[in-house]
Symmetry: C2
Subunit: 196 residues, 2 copies
Amino acid sequence: MENSKSSPQPNDSPQIFVLRWGHRPQRDVRLTTHVALTARALCASGFILSDTQDPHIQETVTKITKSWGGNFHFEMGTPWKRAVRDWKAKGGVVVHLTAYGENIQTSDILNRIKKTNKDLLLIVGSQKVPGEFYSSEVSDFNISIGNQPHSECSALAIFLDRYFGGKELAKPFEKAKIEIVPKERGKEIKSTMDFH
Amino acid sequence: MENSKSSPQPNDSPQIFVLRWGHRPQRDVRLTTHVALTARALCASGFILSDTQDPHIQETVTKITKSWGGNFHFEMGTPWKRAVRDWKAKGGVVVHLTAYGENIQTSDILNRIKKTNKDLLLIVGSQKVPGEFYSSEVSDFNISIGNQPHSECSALAIFLDRYFGGKELAKPFEKAKIEIVPKERGKEIKSTMDFH
């Protein structure tokens, strides 16, 4: 786990790492890639693909970070129990994103999470997660992004957007070789990449 | 296109339909399913899988709607040009979600979209979209959810969350046979399903 504060934090908020649990290498490759890219684009600082290896995802995330900037940490294969234990040992808080948790809209859970003012490890499941994820031994908070079934990718996106108050979508990424110039019509890219 | 207003609208906002373009039946099945479920869970009123058929997605979405409630419209195979033409003919507005568009955070585009007070067709691409999607013949607005590459699923989620001001995550769904009771620990479901 990397502790440098060089990622494009939208403000002085604590660092957020995303832990993806239950990834199935062939079946989930695109979805997990989207989860990782969402984490990066919305200013999480790192991504842990727990308990398994998937070089395709590593390659995509590394390539995107190299071109689009920032200092996004990627690791894979770490057992989830060790990741959680290490995170807590360093004083961090563990947040489990689940449709069963306290609703981000109807409860005060987001404020309680923010008030800890600590680094967050967000657990994002894929298949059905082990029951112990809900317990206080693992998760300090169980938060739901609505209580309907939808997508861990969407849930993560809304959590980060609300946590950072939208600022994450305006933040420039350091050392970017490619940048989009937002516009009303068409596509414009600024690039310092050498295509020769 | 269905025009009933019986979906779980978070308020009297106009209806939103999502048009998924460029779906590749095998490759994109899980991602497109997540896009459709996000649309439903976040109170869009319908989903159009354009230009192709995918019975797996239809089955999943229909099953979820039957159990979890609401009146979510699903259609597939409609050519995108016809869907756009019909939408505009009925006075609706077309919004293209793209990383190249005006940034939802740094521009006033969301307010301009809301001010139209019209039904919205949200175009969500998968592969690289045709250049004409950016033109005024197709899209009234090109909006980006940040200008970094991430996920159409995340982009859709954040758009809907901001459009509805979060209320979509608190809205009960009509005729639900299953409901989650949000809680701090563990899982609780209320169900009127007959499991016999």
